[in-house]
C-alpha cells in the first residue's frame, strides 16, 4: 500500500504519529477522494449499534466464575442454611449468659452473707458449736438460731436446754455462790469513812497529809 494511502487511513483512525500533515495529503485529488470514500464507510461503522450476548449466557459465565474461584454462587447462597447467623448468635449469647450467670452468682453470695443464718467468723460460738462440746458461759445469753444440730434436736425432745443440767454449769454456779460475801453492802446507804469501818485500824491505809 502506498504511503500516502496508509497515512490517510492512520489519520482517519487517529493512529497517526509521525505521518505527514493531513492538509498536505489532501492536496492530492486521488488521496482526497480516497479520504472521502473511507470517511463515509467509517462514519456508518462508528454509528453501528453494539451487540450484546444473551443475559442467560452472562449468568452462566458468572456462576462458573464463582464455582471455579471456590465461592458459592448466588443460588447456593440462597439455599444454604444460615450458618453465619447461628455463629453470630453464639458469639453474642455465650458472653451474655456468662455475665448473667456471674451476676446471679454474686447476688446469691451477697444475700447468703447478709442473712442471719450465714456462718461467719464473727460468730464462732455458733459456728463451732457441737452437741458434745461444753458451752462457754458468755454464750448463754446470746441468740442461738434454730439449726439442724444437736442442740436443736435436744430442745425438741425436751423443753429444757441440754446444758441446763450440765455438770460444768452446776459446778460453776456453786463457785459463784461461794465467792459471794455474806455481809453485803447496801448500795442505797450513805458513804462511810474508812476509819469508821469496823475492823479497820488504819495501818494499811493513810489519809492524804497523814504522817506515819
Amino acid at each position: 500500500m502506498e504511503n500516502g494511502k496508509k497515512d490517510i487511513l492512520l489519520h482517519l483512525y487517529g493512529d497517526s504519529t509521525d505521518a505527514s500533515d493531513l492538509r498536505t495529503l489532501l492536496k492530492d485529488e486521488e488521496l482526497k477522494t480516497e479520504y472521502a470514500t473511507l470517511s463515509e464507510a467509517k462514519f456508518k461503522l462508528d454509528h453501528m449499534n453494539k451487540q450484546r450476548p444473551n443475559q442467560a449466557v452472562i449468568d452462566r459465565i458468572l456462576a462458573a466464575a464463582a464455582t471455579e474461584a471456590g465461592l458459592p454462587d448466588a443460588t447456593s447462597r440462597r439455599d444454604r442454611p444460615a450458618i453465619g447467623r447461628n455463629t453470630q448468635l453464639k458469639r453474642v449469647l455465650i458472653p451474655a449468659l456468662t455475665i448473667a450467670a456471674a451476676i446471679v452468682f454474686g447476688i446469691g453470695i451477697g444475700w447468703f452473707s447478709a442473712s442471719p443464718e450465714s456462718v461467719s467468723p464473727e460468730n464462732p460460738a455458733v459456728a463451732e458449736i457441737s452437741p458434745n462440746d461444753p458451752v462457754p458461759p458468755e454464750s448463754l445469753f446470746r441468740f442461738v438460731p434454730s439449726r439442724q444440730n444437736g442442740l436443736t434436736q435436744a430442745s425438741t425432745a425436751d423443753p429444757r436446754l441440754a446444758w441446763d443440767e450440765a455438770a460444768t454449769i452446776q459446778d460453776l454456779h456453786r463457785r459463784i455462790e461461794d465467792m459471794r460475801p455474806t455481809d453485803r453492802l447496801d448500795w442505797g446507804e450513805r458513804a462511810v469513812p474508812l476509819e469508821s469501818v469496823p475492823g479497820s485500824n488504819g495501818n494499811g491505809l493513810r489519809l492524804t497529809g497523814q504522817k506515819k
Binding site: K6, L10, L38, L45, M48, P53, N54, A65, A69
Partner: protein, 201 residues
Amino acid sequence: MHPADEVLVLRYVEDADQAAFSTLVNRHQERVFGYLQGMVRDREVANDLFQETFLRVIKALNKDRGSYTVQGKFLGWVLRIARNAALDHLRAKKKWQDVSSLNGEEDTSYWDRLPDDGPSADVQLHASEQNDLLRECIERLPEEQREVLLLRHESDLTFREIADLTGCSINTALGRMRYALINLRRMMSTTAISDLTEVGQ
C-alpha cells in the same frame, strides 16, 4: 475512576472477588461478542462461542495461571481465545461443506440446504433497518477483511494489536482495513441503488 483490567484480574484471582470478574465481563462483552457474531454470522453460535471463550478464560485464570502473563493486554488475551474458538467453529463448518462437495452434491453447505422458513434475502434487506443493512454488508466481506474491520470497530484494538493478534504485519492489517472500507461503501451504494430501483418499480 474505574479500576484497570489488571487490577480486576488480580482481585478475582487472588481474592476470589466475583464482582471484579463480573465487571470485566460487562466491560468487554460487546467487544468480544461483536467480533464473534461478525465472524460466525449467527447469533446463537456467537452466544455459544462467547460462553466457551469466557469459560476458557475462567479456567486459565484459576488453574493455568501462567497462561495469562501479558500485563495490560487482558482484552487482547481474551480476543485471542475468542478467535481460536471462532476459527475452530469455522473450520468445522468448512469441513462439513467439504464433505458435501466430495459427495458430488451441490456446491452448498449442509446448513445452506436446510429448509428456510424466513423471508428471502431481498425481502429481509428491505425490512431491515440501516444498521441491519450494514451488518449484512459486513458479513459479505472476505473473511480476512471482515476480521480486521471487526477487531477495529467492535473490539477497539489498534492496528498494531490487530497485527499481533492475527499474525500479520501492520501494513497488511492497514491494507485489509482499507479494502474492507472500500468494499463496504461499494456494497452499500449498490444496495441503496437496488432499493431505489425496486421502489421505483
